[in-house]
Amino acid sequence: MPDLKHRRLLSAREYIGVEKIDGPLIFVSKTHPVGYRELIECVDKNGHIRMGIVLESSTNRVVVQVFEGTAGLTLPSTRIRFSGKPLTISVSKEMLGRVFNGLGNPIDGGPAPRSDLDLDVNGMAINPTARQYPRDFIQTGISVIDGMNTLIRGQKLPIFSGNGLPHNELAAQIARQAKIRGSETEFAVVFAAMGVKHDVAQFFVRSFEESGVLSNVALFLSLASDPSIERLITPRTALTLAEHLAFNEDMHVLVIMTDMTNYCESLREISTIRGEIPSRKGYPGYLYSDLAELYERSGMIKGRKGSITSLPILTMPNDDISHPVPDLSGYITEGQIVFEREMDGRGIYPPVAGLPSLSRLMKDGIGEGMTREDHPHLASQLFAAYSYVKDVRNLASVIGEEELTPLDHTYLDFGKAFEQQFVSQRKDEERSIEQTLDIGWKVLSMLPADELHRITEEEIEKFYGK
């Protein structure tokens, strides 16, 4: 029975020839005992090295997943080396301002950054008792977010979007404008691109450049042209750096991951090749746990100054929010910003659907001393009134607007003003929270005061119609 020391010696061995290659998976037989999730190196006939990890290990066969794909490999000439340790990346603050591939190797032509320490990319579960409950309000300058779906430092708030909708613009705008009021702290952006087009990556680089923050951004790019399997490791590499920056270097990190749907599709691809039993739409049964391993890495920790706020972007296939990817994400993340194609069609930016969007951490981060005392009730009333607007619109589409009661007409006017004045804003417009709330009151004042059941009389006295 080989012990750990013995195994490390065995890891110097190299196996020439493999049993089977299927998609990104390689099957190797008759090896020494190989550890689960061990890092491997795979050398092709030209001496080029690709990396991979062990997915399954048994006494007679090892299944290996190769990140850079298996194109060009042959059965007899492929050589495999097992490292005896899990996949790690070297992390340091110097990685900011640089561009890497999904495995953390620089692709901007510069030298590898000096490394402080090696970390396992899989990370470890944060002890729930070590977490600090997030409550610091982040001002994004975007009314529909600040006013109604407030982003909190340490939150994971995804954007549920669709193809062709301006999710990248919104993410870039948030990255540019996000600030904690009254505090100057070191911040960083970690950007992970999974299977997105080259021009999307370029859009973000340019946007960071223009706002002069590029030196505070680390980019991990696994683009559409790269092997799909690399996408599985890209968010993990990015989050490992983010954890280092947040919890070892005391920085406030914003992680943008796009597009989570591509990530999930790669996961499905591997699962299918391995012959696993699928659950919904062919996605593996562990999709929820796998996504949770990524999303749950954000947060705040007691006694540490830094934080990880994450903003995953996912495109809903066919705009279907009940598709497994948005559905399972919504069960893990702390709310969601949902885009609506119909609003985009009417030229409203950001096209954030009022009702399905939600920020779960909002309740503890707004109100007196944080934003303004009227914020909670105002937001609640806006939601209620807008919900009624939707009902009235449905009614109007059946019976015609003429048949509506005068009150319902007032609601329709309110709905229009809400969308055009409160939700809609320019892509470079930054509103303070006070401006946002004042606009909220302005549109709400179109409704009669006795319709506002969720607002106290004092608040009506102070803000209504002002």
Partner: protein, 590 residues
Amino acid sequence: MSDRIIGQVRRVNGPVIEVMGITDAEMFELVRVGEQRLIGELIKLESGGAVIQVYEDTTGIAPYDPVYGAGMQLSVELGPGMIGTIYDGIQRPLEAIREMSDIYINRGITIPSLNREKKWHFVPAVKTGDRVSEGSVLGAVQETENFKHKILVPPKDAGILESVVPEGDYTVEDVIAVLQTENGQSKNLTLMHRWPIRVQRPTARRLPLDTPLITGQRVIDTLFPVARGGTVAIPGGFGTGKTMTQQAVAKWCDADIIVYIGCGERGNEITDVLAEFPALIDPRSGRSLMERTILIANTSNMPVSAREASIYTGITMAEYFRDQGYHVAVMADSTSRWAEALRELSGRMEEMPAEEGFPAYLPTKVAEFYERAGSMEALNGQTGSVTIIGAVSPPGGDFSEPVTQHTKRFIRCFWALDRHLANARHYPAISWLDSYSEYLNDIAVWWEQQVGAAWLDDRTEIMDLLQREVRLQQVVKLVGPDALPDTQRFIIEVCTLFKNAFLQQNAYDKIDMFSVVPKQARMLHIIVEYWKRGRDVIKAGATLVELRKMKVYQDIIKMKFSVPNDDLSDLDKIEARLGRSMDQLEALHA
């Protein structure tokens, strides 16, 4: 922990490990794998081999690694020190783990579930020579200011006490009594004992469920009440407020002990409970809510197999407190994650799947879990109960999926969360159309004793109105509200009032966050009175506009916020004012 090697690893596939060379091992035995000593449980035995599910990340485990057997089943430690503690899915205290491994949970940590050093003040209730039987009370420890932890003879032990220690301070491992069992052996009894999590603790008999578990949430207590010892499912898509409802019930329900199982959910939700509960005061005891709460946290990023076990860990603890004669409420959030853990493990064991990849034994497992609820007479004659409130997270919010469907077969109370209500920020978003409670008739007697016989009639009246409103709304959708006569529009009006003034409840408002039983009954009665009197004056010729203009209307809308739980006299005033306003209106049209 024993070093008995029971086999070697043959194959590693995530949390599932196949073992070869098994000599002696028992089913569901607690095992440790590899040099890291990862904790696992033996779940399948075959000739010479076995399958183990490991409760920690198996990175680095390789074939031929040794597997050690502990010689006992996966068990929980039951004794003083559990209250106010936060455990992981296999009862390891997370606070203590944090002291050992900082912010992350390292692997292979072995740590006792109950503090071994802490001394508890034990007051014996028995003396040497007494005959005790299974579950007899040996004495008690005052665990918190308000909670008396009774020390029990473990089930399956009985006989004559050879010795009992005097009153004093003891650790959970100190011998407090020596028992001579029926077959003549001496057995040491301590403040704690172990119990395997997958085995239901024995009781004398089941009792009828005739007392409600009061939650302080009006839509629950008044419309869809749950009995002590009952079973509830809360299904709802993401963002509909499952966790908010569970937390509201955990905060304000009148159980003695809350076991809150965070099963595969968000880390920050557990942190929220940890931050909030100690600061909240239990209105009945006047003490911190944390002093009656046990948390089990196995968040979504913690190992999936421990998620499977966490449900059983929680329910076993609940049964232990029930045996002491307490009423326990178990919050399981979410049972879908538990079912998904079953599915993942089943898939890795290459079992034949049934619906949507779930194993064929899913309904059996769901039934076993919910059947552990009940109002019981314990072996020692005490009565206690375990109520299970399980959240269900159906994919896409579709209630026809297997977990919701199978759960529905084994529960008797269903609080369906509605996406439309949640979108309008109507909380709790419990649908009055899809929800039901089979306990209503069993507990109606209790309500009548508490608040008078009108309660059941009022409730029936309002439920009837809500049903009629749905049909009227369909008409409105086709022809507009103006086409309806005032009598019918008034029904819609009353239902809107009932939804705003009664069903909606603000979990963050100091007064509204919970309502005592008399307040709920009085509020309901006022709204039903408004309906009955209003209906009559409309028949007499009054218009809706006149009704709406009554000042008392605003009082009714605001009464949930304005009338404190400990002084309901303002409700009398509102009711009197309502009567006077209606009288005036009636006189006007007489």
